[in-house]
């Protein structure tokens, strides 16, 4: 079956098997920042932003995304011009193995796009769906809060 998804601002059409998950589709198209973790929706490393909200791609059929807009980590920042959240994660030592990092950054981006001045609890809640075995979450949270402070709690550049 044919589906059309906007991925990182570009309309893409795919011929897929109905039982293909969105995770499988994205990775088959080279979006390797979308990580393969648990396949049960528990760990969150496969998360992308769909229509402004963070969702786990391993528990979503690709066909469900037909007609929707997705942002992956490849769609924000570049190696030469990091997104403020990516830069903050680097600056604050919030990356160890790096496996959960794309999803954590997307979680933070989804939060700040919706609410530029979240509370501490709202930051924790936004990141709650991405498990990290390395950092203990302290530095990723610090990195996100640094971006919030830097941007004065106001509207930040996407």
């Amino acid at each position: 079956m044919l589906i059309t998804i906007e991925i990182n601002g570009e309309q893409r059409t795919f011929d897929i098997h109905p039982g293909m998950t969105l995770l499988e589709l994205l990775r088959s198209q080279g979006f390797y920042g979308v990580k393969h973790g648990c396949e049960t929706g528990e760990c969150g490393v496969c998360a992308v932003i769909m229509d402004g909200r963070l969702v786990n791609t391993c528990v979503m059929l690709a066909a469900q995304a037909d007609g929707h807009a997705i942002i992956t980590i490849e769609g924000i920042g570049t190696p030469d011009h990091l997104h403020p959240l990516q830069q903050a994660f680097v600056d604050h030592g919030a990356i160890q193995c790096g496996y959960c990092t794309p999803a954590q950054i997307l979680a933070a981006k989804a939060l700040l796009d919706e609410n530029p001045a979240p509370t501490h609890e709202e930051v924790l809640d936004a990141l709650s769906g991405v498990l990290c075995r390395c950092t203990g979450y302290k530095k990723p949270v610090e990195a996100v809060k640094a971006v919030i402070a830097e941007q004065g709690g106001g509207r930040h550049a996407s």
Partner: protein, 263 residues
């Protein structure tokens, strides 16, 4: 790859969805958010009917009840002003505990009701509120959510959840950590009744495979506490907590909940 799923449908009307669901020759399942069906690998399913085009999202309040579209994401219950105001924000509080943010963004309230998981605090809260479901958008089809059976859901579609009025609500819980799933959760609601009294309805999750309920009419917390009775057919015990622990904790949580309802 769920290779056994050979058909994906996204109907635009409920009639179309029902026709697909009721085909005798093709094992077909409802696809709401997908967080349960796809996570469980959709066993025995050859076709899915995605409800996202049926316009079943939204939360509204009228004079008689709060109406929640079955395809409303759980996260919307937390962000909606209507649900934050209803019964002291009981549904919003319970929704926050039922899953992490990623799942709440995709999982739907219809899926929560269909799964009837006694450990799901949102489900427990809906039972306490006396919520009913509308099937296939047929007015008059209202059914208590506890009365839903897998057989009924095989051929019908939950389209709306209707929550009757309440003065206030409370959620008491015990868990290993504040953000963990509850070991035992008690949701309680105080609703209008005649003669200056209140209807007190309690739902207990985590002590039995099915949610345990208890209802009484009382003038105050003391009377409610003394008259409320509940029965557990099949006590639940597992590696997380034993059945005697869950029973003991339940008594404390119910007592706290009732006290809070009249505070």
């Amino acid at each position: 790859m769920l290779s056994h799923i050979r058909e994906y449908h996204r109907p635009k009307t409920i009639e179309e969805a029902l026709a697909l669901l009721r085909r005798p020759s093709v094992p077909t399942a409802i696809l709401a958010g997908g967080t349960q069906l796809v996570a469980r690998r959709a066993p025995g399913v050859n076709a899915v009917v995605d409800l996202q085009a049926l316009n079943l999202q939204g939360i509204r309040m009228d004079a008689s009840a709060v109406h929640i579209g079955a395809m409303t994401p759980i996260q919307d219950l937390i962000q909606s002003e209507v649900s934050r105001q209803y019964a002291s924000g009981l549904l919003a509080k319970a929704a926050r505990h039922c899953a992490p943010r990623n799942i709440r963004n995709a999982a739907t309230i219809g899926g929560t009701v269909a799964s009837a998981d006694s450990r799901d605090e949102l489900y427990v809260a809906l039972v306490a509120c006396g919520a009913t479901v509308i099937l296939n958008e047929e007015e008059g089809s209202g059914l208590a959510i506890e009365a839903l059976t897998p057989e009924r859901l095989r051929y019908d579609i939950i389209t709306r959840i209707v929550v009757p009025p309440a003065h206030c609500g409370v959620l008491e819980r015990v868990a290993r950590t504040p953000s963990d799933r509850a070991i035992v959760a008690v949701a309680a609601v105080r609703a209008p009744y005649a003669g200056g009294r209140s209807l007190c309805r309690v739902a207990i999750g985590g002590i039995s495979p099915r949610v345990v309920t208890a209802t009484t009419v009382a003038s105050d917390a003391s009377q409610a506490r003394s008259e409320l009775r509940w029965h557990v057919d099949t006590p639940l015990g597992d590696a997380v907590a034993s059945a005697p622990y869950r029973q003991a904790v339940t008594d404390v949580l119910v007592s706290r909940a009732i006290e809070a309802l009249w505070r």
